[in-house]
């Protein structure tokens, strides 16, 4: 008998790698393209997320509202129902990323693939159940674990910023050795990419992401095989799997190569062990087989429902654990008082609704032209980790920009036309007279007033008497806020020349989206005339 690897499946494998590369490049391109495009409106750069049925379902259940763009997710569902988890093997950019590193680790002998399987593949199903149970009670944790959110967020808030910092250092070197013309063109190119390079949790998110990559040192595509809740979800709905693994017993030499090198522990050998719900149709087994014994003929009988060893006990336990965990996520002081630093981007839904919809992907943080949108740490409570908040110390909300609202894939930030956006208050500015330069030193400043974008300006300059340490009195103009006009954009705080702790700062009070986080009762204004 001729011993030869299957040509057909090696071609299919090559096509699969091409497909993965194309989708990864597309994902990365859309990510890079998420910045001010030269006009007010940006195209649907967030479209990748809409093909993710897990995000669709989780936000649907958590918010009890369907977001129309997620209809695209149905195509993934149908695809998976008929063909199995091809989306994992051929499309998912995080899957490709993991596979690439697994490949590198394998080639460099850092990872030695093992023959024996284990039942850790069940973890991802438990995680999925944990997440979905939460959504029933409007606790939306899906964004933390969803592969697209994870990848996008990590790239935006950590990987790209790190590249940007490294690149900048490299350019600095070019100037030092006097190749400034090359430096100039590189700078212009890079500035036009508009990569936001300052993120508060950049290091932390980077460690997490690289940690997840390093898991591939233990098992190939570790994340996909043990952890990914989207993979679990697709595994559950893969039903028909019309391409069925078949091993020709006459050709098979029982070498175990297919099972050893299976990317996701679907165990193609022995044939009866094959788990269609774990198979991502990467065709590694059929192309690696030294005797071309493995094929995937089309057969239209449905698979048995989930061949996963999920014990009923553990299922119920996970669900109960999920329910028990919910109140822990809500142990946040923000239930008593609005958090002053919880300044949401304009168009953000009221906080409760917002948390039910935000998937923590980081699209808005990528689109923000000033780098002001940052992942929250504790400001929004445990369930709000990595949701976007404006940190005016870093960057402010650009007056004529509504990009964040346009790129939000779930409608957690409602899409706004630019003119609508300029009318939304996201907070209010306050002067700290203890540190403000004119109020203390009698020295002129006016920087906050100069930058205030509203017309008329929300910051007024008023002559103020200031007593200096030597007893003399000066009367500089000093800033006073008109809270009716202030929209809380924070440019005053960003630009304040008091460099360490800006003497003017924005807090969330007065935000349009909240009924309760208000300074004055509106009723009083109207009734003034009665008295």
């Amino acid at each position: 008998m001729k011993k030869e690897r299957s040509k057909k499946y090696r071609v299919i494998q090559a096509v699969r790698i091409l497909s993965q590369s194309i989708f990864f490049i597309l994902f990365f391109y859309l990510l890079l393209a998420t910045h001010f495009p030269g006009e007010d409106y940006i195209g649907r750069v967030e479209v990748f997320f809409h093909f993710d049925p897990l995000l669709a379902i989780a936000t649907f259940i958590a918010s009890r509202a369907f977001y129309a763009s997620f209809a695209l997710g149905a195509s993934t569902v149908v695809l998976t129902f008929v063909l199995g988890r091809v989306a994992c093997g051929w499309v998912c950019p995080l899957g490709s990323f993991h596979q690439f590193f697994s490949f590198i680790f394998k080639k460099s002998k850092l990872l030695k693939p093992k023959k024996n399987g284990d039942n850790r593949t069940a973890w991802k199903y438990y995680l999925l159940i944990f997440i979905l149970v939460g959504t029933l009670f409007s606790l939306d944790l899906v964004g933390i674990f969803d592969p697209l959110s994870l990848l996008y967020r990590s790239f935006v808030a950590s990987i790209l910023p790190a590249i940007s910092v490294g690149f900048s250092a490299f350019i600095g070197l070019l100037y030092q050795i006097n190749i400034s013309s090359l430096g100039d063109s590189l700078v212009q190119f890079f500035e036009n990419l508009a990569v936001n390079s300052v993120f508060r949790q950049g290091f932390f998110l980077g460690v997490l992401f690289i940690g997840i990559l390093l898991l591939n040192l233990s098992r190939e595509r570790y994340w996909c095989r043990y952890l990914c809740p989207l993979g679990a979800f697709l595994g559950l709905i893969s039903r028909w799997n019309v391409m069925k693994l078949k091993i020709d017993p006459k050709k098979c030499i029982d070498c175990w190569l297919c099972t050893i090198h299976c990317q996701t522990q679907a165990r193609p050998y022995p044939e009866e062990d094959w788990k269609s719900s774990e198979c991502v149709y990467c065709y590694t087994c059929s192309s690696i087989c030294p005797t071309s014994a493995i094929s995937f003929p089309v057969k239209s009988t449905p698979e048995e429902i989930v061949k996963v060893d999920l014990s009923k006990r553990k299922l119920i336990f996970t669900a109960l654990l999920g329910i028990a965990a919910i109140p822990f996520f809500r142990l946040s002081p923000s239930t008593r008082r609005a958090s002053p630093k919880l300044i949401r981007p304009p168009g953000a839904l009221p906080e409760k609704k917002f948390l039910q919809k935000c998937v923590k992907c980081g699209e808005c943080m990528k689109a923000c032209p000033t780098n002001g949108l940052q992942p929250a740490l504790a400001e929004a409570g445990p369930e709000g980790i990595w949701t976007p908040i404006l940190v005016p110390k870093i960057g402010y909300c650009e007056y004529y920009c509504s990009l964040c609202s346009q790129v939000c894939p779930t409608g957690a930030i409602q899409e706004l036309a630019v003119m609508e956006k300029t009318k939304i208050k996201i907070g209010l500015a306050w002067v700290n007279k203890n540190t403000c330069i004119p109020y203390n030193l009698g020295t002129p400043c006016i920087v906050c007033e100069e930058h205030c974008p509203t017309s008329p300006k929300a910051i007024k300059l008023v002559k103020t008497e200031v007593k200096l340490p030597d007893g003399t009195i000066k009367t500089p103009v000093a800033p006073i806020i008109n809270t009716d006009l202030c929209i809380g954009c924070g440019i005053c705080e960003t630009k304040c020349p008091v460099v360490d702790e800006p003497a003017i700062y924005v807090t969330s009070v007065g935000e349009s989206r909240s009924e309760t986080n208000q300074l004055l009762l509106d009723i009083i204004k109207g009734e003034d005339e009665l008295f």
């Binding site: 910045h35 100039d184 700078v187 500035e191 650009e398 002129p444 400043c445 920087v447 100069e450």
Partner: protein
Amino acid sequence: MKRRDFIKDLALGSLLLKVNPSLLAQDKNAPDLAWIQGDSPSLITREAISSLGGMNRFVSRGDVVVVKPNIGWDRTPKLAACTNPEVVKTLVELCLAAGAKEVKVMDNPCNPARRTYVRSGISEAAKEAGAKVLLPNPHRLKKMALNGEWLKEWRVYTDFVEADKIINVPIAKTHSLSRLTMGMKNWLGAVGGNRNQLHQKLDQAMIDLASFFKPCLTVLDAYRILIRNGPQGGRVSDTKLHKTVVAGVDYVAVDTAGATFFDLGPQELPYLRVAHQKGFGETDLEKLIIEKRTL
């Protein structure tokens, strides 16, 4: 060339080197200020330059020229927060026609440069005319000796210092500290560092910066001026159509002329008064030859 001529030229040349370059550009027949009014921003700009003796007077063949408009804010031209794009475009065209090797257009804005460059219309207009439009490059910031009265040194974009000629193209606007922002205030957009601290002695900072950069020509865009809520405005009603440009070598005189559009004079603008005292320019418009015309 005879040896005698060579020595003569050399002596003359070395004498002239010590003189302010703007004096070199002085033309006995040309007016001090061209003050042109008309419906087309581009035509009045063209007319102003030709009244001053043409761009050849300022730009020589092979020069690298930096044109410095005000591109400070994310505002469209009708809001008059940035220099009129047509004026900038015309100047770039004139520089290239005069034989400039390269014309760079740049500013260090207050809002993100990628937005202000586009939304002000200046990026597109200047590129159309053949200019190189440059986003501010932090690697080109260098601490330099300004030797000013107050600013001894500051971080400056070297593009301006390395250029053969600098042309300042400000827009006339109100400002709550210097009262008006025109040519001399425009230089805050050529520097980096913590610029916002310059406001603590803004008038002096403006004088120090203007006398450091020494533009060979200042063209004040007063086509649409900002009369309220400066320096950003925000509503068309904050602006006033004035349809004028004022151009000249003497930047103090240009700003003084611009101040008249707001009914202000050197007595209300300390920076003009001090600049005049220091000998940087003239604030008495009576003493100047002004070519005033309406197209």
